[in-house]
């Protein structure tokens, strides 16, 4: 009898252990991928930085990868990525947050459902389609409006990016706004504040960590985008200017990788750009985690 029970317990332990191990393995696979990518990127990105010199690489203003005397300065790409992302956030965040306030607080059910579906659809459109529409509609329009010789400019990329980051900002901010306790708003209105005053002065500040997370998320999406902007930004390695043709970090990798000779400094430098971009995105991730953790603590308090 006793033996039997022991065996049963053992069996049970086994039947628990096996799935446990399988789950663990699956979890570790993700970790392994991240480690692989990080290690690979660091190993392949370091040599070129070392050969070129980190100051010359990061702050060099000239990128001429195939010239007789090549120079590999990625400052134009870094600044373009920062300007482009900042511009997209500047346009996309206010629109996104206002939309979220409308959806979460103001809108009647019907229009809210339509807008929400539209935003979700926007998230589902492949980036190459954004690029295509940008190339066919936006580029000629900007060329006409500003009387430029070519409309493929930083401005064009910023507009495309700001549309692309809208869905994530709307979704995350809406969730954050909906999580604001109803009592806060009721208390505010009981004190005589109007609805709009309440939303702007009570709900939004109460949801600020969630909204900050949405903004950081938008930044992450914008800085990592390549396909859409390669089609609208002109891809010339200029120092950034709103109406100039520019090249982002992502597009610098994408446009030269296919032709860069294996083992050449050009190819190694492209990996180094990847490493820099990777660090940017890591930093954004850390910031995002800080916001989300901060929010969690507040909820407990």
């Amino acid at each position: 009898m006793r033996e039997n029970m022991k065996q049963d317990a053992k069996k049970e332990r086994m039947s628990e252990l096996v799935p446990h191990l399988i789950f663990l393995f699956c979890g570790l696979a993700a970790v392994a991928f991240v480690l692989c990518i990080s290690v690979y990127l660091i190993i392949s990105g370091i040599p070129a930085i070392h050969k070129i010199g980190i100051i010359k690489f990061l702050f060099g203003m000239k990128w001429q990868s195939t010239a007789a005397e090549p120079s590999f300065g990625i400052l134009p790409f870094v600044l373009t990525s920062i300007y482009g992302t900042a511009g997209a956030v500047l346009i996309g965040v206010p629109i996104g947050i206002m939309t979220a306030v409308y959806l979460a607080k103001v809108a009647p059910k019907r229009p809210a459902a339509v807008i929400r579906t539209a935003a979700q659809l926007l998230a589902g459109i492949p980036s190459v389609v954004y690029g295509l529409v940008g190339m066919i509609v936006l580029v000629p329009a900007i060329q006409k409006i500003f009387r430029l010789s070519s409309g493929a400019t930083l401005l064009c990329a910023i507009i495309v990016l700001s549309i692309m980051i809208l869905p994530s900002i709307i979704n995350v901010s809406e969730t954050a706004l909906e999580a604001v306790p109803r009592e806060y708003e009721e208390a505010s209105m009981a004190l005589g504040a109007t609805e709009i005053e309440t939303y702007m002065k009570v709900s939004l500040p109460a949801a600020k960590s969630g909204i900050a997370a949405a903004v950081v998320l938008g930044v992450g999406r914008a800085i990592g985008e390549a396909m859409a902007i390669i089609m609208v930004s002109g891809n010339v390695a200029n120092m950034p200017g709103l109406l100039k043709s520019v090249r982002f970090m992502t597009t610098a990798i994408a446009s030269e990788m296919s032709y860069a000779a294996v083992g050449s400094l050009q190819r190694e430098a492209l990996f180094s750009i990847g490493l820099v971009l990777f660090l940017f995105i890591m930093i954004i991730n850390v910031i995002l985690n800080v916001f989300i953790k901060g929010k969690g603590k507040k909820d407990v308090a």
């Binding site: 195939t66 992450g220 999406r221 990592g224 990788m257 296919s258 032709y259 000779a261 492209l270």
Partner: protein
């Protein structure tokens, strides 16, 4: 979900770059030819022939290798479109049988023991929007436009519009050919740098300001663009063949001096340099060199 989304995006970008390298590594390990039949007897050869290089030569090599494989069923010809630079390098270190280059070898490359055999000549045509008032430019005018010295179409006989120079990305064979011939290497002031022939044509179609360059073979039957004559000479097979059209380049096979090709590779080499290949080469819009 969204947070995941952007992490995934980042991961995908990295993965793409890694895959690109892995793919490139893969090409280096293309199987070496193992033909052991007597050279010259092309009907009996077998094995693999690996070619690697210029993307501009894709259609030429594609059509020739297809025909060659039909004639020699035991031979497999592979082609990796990596770019002229990579093709020359691969031929140099023996990772492919025949390197393909749409530019001539530099002296440094020749000194490394490489030889080029020209199989065809390709014209690079200058294209503008079909509404452009300009229809002819001299080589010097083209150079000064791309250098940024001439900024308005009115300076070269066109309407009062700013010029938008459209170029190709660093490493492109067409760009290298164009910049070498016009003497604008490294000094071009471009307003767009596009990564494919199709994109250049599209950009020129959409803008009256634009000027671009592409392969001669790529602009046949393209509506909405105008092909410029260069110094009064229009780009045709005849003007390319007799070298009177200024902007043209050679399609070269790159081999190593003193290194014997495998039987299969030698047979393929002999075939594409023979006059039997002329018809097929001409079909792809370039001019056979032996003509």
């Amino acid at each position: 979900m969204n947070r995941k989304g952007f992490r995934t995006a980042a991961a995908v970008l990295l993965l793409v770059s890694i895959t690109a390298t892995l793919a490139a590594c893969g090409t280096n390990q293309s199987p070496q030819s193992s033909g052991n039949a007597a050279a010259g007897d092309s009907s009996a050869v077998s094995g693999n022939v690996s070619t690697n290089g210029s993307t501009s030569m894709e259609s030429v090599i594609g059509i020739l290798s297809e025909q060659f494989m039909l004639d020699n069923s035991k031979v497999k010809v592979t082609y990796d479109a990596t770019g002229s630079g990579t093709g020359i390098e691969a031929a140099g270190n023996g990772t492919c049988d025949i390197g393909l280059s749409s530019r001539d070898l530099t002296d440094a490359e020749k000194a490394k023991g490489l030889t080029q055999t020209t199989i065809a000549k390709d014209g690079i045509v200058m294209i503008v929007n079909k509404n452009s008032a300009v229809s002819d430019l001299s080589l010097e005018q083209i150079a000064s436009i791309y250098k940024g010295d001439v900024k308005n179409w009115s300076e070269v006989g066109g309407s009062d519009l700013a010029i938008a120079c459209i170029g190709r990305e660093a490493g492109s064979g067409t760009r290298d050919g164009f910049e070498t011939i016009t003497g604008t290497k490294g000094v071009c002031v471009l307003s767009q740098e596009l990564t494919s022939t199709g994109a250049v044509i599209e950009a020129v179609k959409n803008s009256e300001n634009a000027i671009g360059y592409t392969s001669f073979s790529a602009v046949e039957d393209q509506p909405d663009i105008k092909v410029l004559t260069v110094g009064g000479v229009s780009c045709t097979e005849d003007t390319i063949a007799d070298d009177s059209y200024a902007i043209q380049r050679d399609f070269n096979l790159i081999t190593r001096n003193g290194v014997k090709l495998s039987a299969a590779a030698q047979a393929f080499f002999n075939y594409i340099t023979s006059d039997k290949a002329y018809g097929l080469i001409r079909k792809t819009g370039v001019v056979p060199a032996g003509k």
